[in-house]
Amino acid sequence: MSEAEYEALSLSLQVALRSVICSLPLAVAVAWLLTRRRFSGRALLDAFVHLPMVLPPVMIGYVLLLLFGVRGPIGHWLYAHFGIRTAFTTAGAALATAVMAFPLMVRTIRLALENVDRGLEEAARTLGAGPLDRFLSVTLPLMAPGILAGAVTAFVASLGEFGAVITFAGDIPGQTRTLPIALYAALQAPDGGAAAARIAALSFALGLAGLFAAELLARSLRRRLGR
């Protein structure tokens, strides 16, 4: 493995980790809203969350560029107040993968929340637990296997995100050149065949390992819950 490939690997892991850590609390909140709250605009929120699954990733990258580019409304504000730039940075790559993996994460967490026995929350109520207390001490622990599964699946999916990342964050070695982008770059180079094969094999092993790890973790958590 060359140094550039090693760099792409470590960058991919970094980007995926940042993306999952930042979007996880939001995904739990959205899953909770969609499952437990009845409000007008719920169907709209549901559709909006799922958009990245059905739209071309390049288009998502383009929309991000419009919003978060230095001249975009959010990007301009971030830069003017905090000096933060997202477009064409590692943070931007994480943002793009987070948006793309978000629906996957919300769906898994939502499924876990729907499986939480409301009766147990009622029991917690009669034992003196208020709404937030109940959520933290009963609902969240019972959802934990699902949250974990959602996070790991999103992590693995983030490792492979290509279209949105290259559109929004570009192909900057050491900053935004993640594994799939490195793979694409290798394929474009005249003598990149061997490198491309190595990166492809690496991506394959990573994805497989991630999915196995998710299954093992979820199984051990379920065992703790006696299921």
Binding site: T126, A129, G130
Partner: protein
């Protein structure tokens, strides 16, 4: 004392109930399944909001639709042992027990200590277990302990004995009796089994289709005509309470004072001075207009007829007063005619059998 007046409408089903539960003691909500017993419990606990009504416990108001009071369930201090128990699977037995305790001691301080409840319910050996490693009876005790440790001022028990087999029932009943007798904690027990009522209840509320048919102490409720619908024609009978006068272990018999008379019952487990509660089924009583002689039936009570009520299938239900103890006897119409039964007539009551009995404190 709990005072409740509750109205709720859910589609075809309506609840319109008004009842009291004296404290301390166990109040049984007795009725067939579907009578609205569990819904009433949810309303009391604050898990379901009634359409109208009021709930007060010892002068404190939890709910009053007119005054706009609705204390949330978590602030009511009403313990609830659910029919399906609802132990937290992500916590061990110890974690379940401490769940309510920790929250209650933060708020009001703990009156019932952990060690006392663990000893009372025999939970020492279970503390380190996970909840799925428990048997049915053990789960029941853990759920009970968890509710008690939340320091409730009223404990709701929803069919606590229905989910377990007969052998486990006998294991569990003494725990409930201990709670009733050792803790000055008012409890409401939902049940569809009359033997649970006889064994545990100090006060009874009869429920049918969301309405209260009657309430009071068990001996007086047992005489009500509505009991026929709840227990079936062969299940009706007066419940009487009497003090154990003497125990003759040699003969295996104990003498129990009922009204002005005495009944001899098997002495097994009885001590002098105890109060014994017995159900005497109407079909197990025989009436005689003269003191009977030469019979194998030893139990005779001298009584006065207080009422006659025609029943289906040519039967007559005769109410009698045996020196303060009210009893019900069923005779055929033909027999009633031949004996010329009428009110205020003196009569002898022969008791063939005592169907249910339980020792009271």
């Amino acid at each position: 004392m709990l005072n409740a007046r509750l109205q709720l409408r859910r589609g075809e089903f309506t609840i319109d109930a008004r009842f009291n539960a004296p404290a301390p003691g166990i109040t049984a909500l007795f009725g067939r399944s579907g009578a609205g017993k569990s819904t009433l419990m949810h309303l009391l606990a604050g898990l379901t909001r009634p359409d109208a009504g009021a709930i007060g416990l010892d002068g404190e108001c939890f709910y009053d639709s007119e005054r706009g009071i609705d204390v949330p369930a978590q602030a009511r201090g009403i313990g609830y042992v659910f029919q399906d128990l609802r132990l937290f699977p992500h916590l061990g037995v110890g974690g379940n027990l401490e769940y309510g305790l920790r929250r209650a001691s933060r708020r009001r301080g703990a009156r019932l200590e952990f060690a006392r409840v663990v000893a009372l319910l025999g939970l020492e050996a279970l503390l380190a277990r996970r909840t799925w490693q428990l048997s049915g009876g053990e789960r029941q005790r853990v759920a009970l302990g968890r509710a008690l440790l939340a320091q409730p001022r009223l404990l709701l028990l929803d069919e606590p004995l229905s989910a377990i087999d007969a052998a486990r029932r006998h294991e569990l009943l003494p725990y409930f009796e201990r709670l009733r007798d050792e803790l000055a904690l008012p409890m409401i027990l939902v049940t569809h089994r009359f033997d649970d009522v006889v064994r545990l209840a100090t006060h009874v509320v009869l429920l049918e289709a969301g309405r209260v048919l009657g309430q009071g102490d068990l001996p007086s409720v047992s005489l009500r005509s509505e009991m026929r619908g709840l227990l079936g024609p062969d299940g009706i009978g007066a419940v009487v309470e009497g003090c154990v006068d003497s125990v003759d272990a040699g003969a295996g018999l104990a003498s129990v004072r009922v009204g002005t008379g005495r009944l001899l019952v098997p002495s097994e487990g009885l001590r002098t001075g105890e109060v014994l509660r017995m159900q005497l089924l109407a079909r197990d009583l025989i009436l005689a207009t003269a003191p009977p002689q030469g019979l194998s039936v030893r139990n005779q009570l001298h009584a006065v007829v207080t009422g006659l009520q025609r029943e289906p299938h040519h039967h007559v239900l005769v109410s009698v007063d045996a020196g303060g103890a009210a009893l019900l006897a069923r005779v055929t119409e033909a027999a009633a005619r031949e004996l010329q039964l009428r009110e205020r007539q003196e009569i002898w009551v022969l008791v063939k059998a005592v169907s249910l009995r339980s020792q009271q404190q």
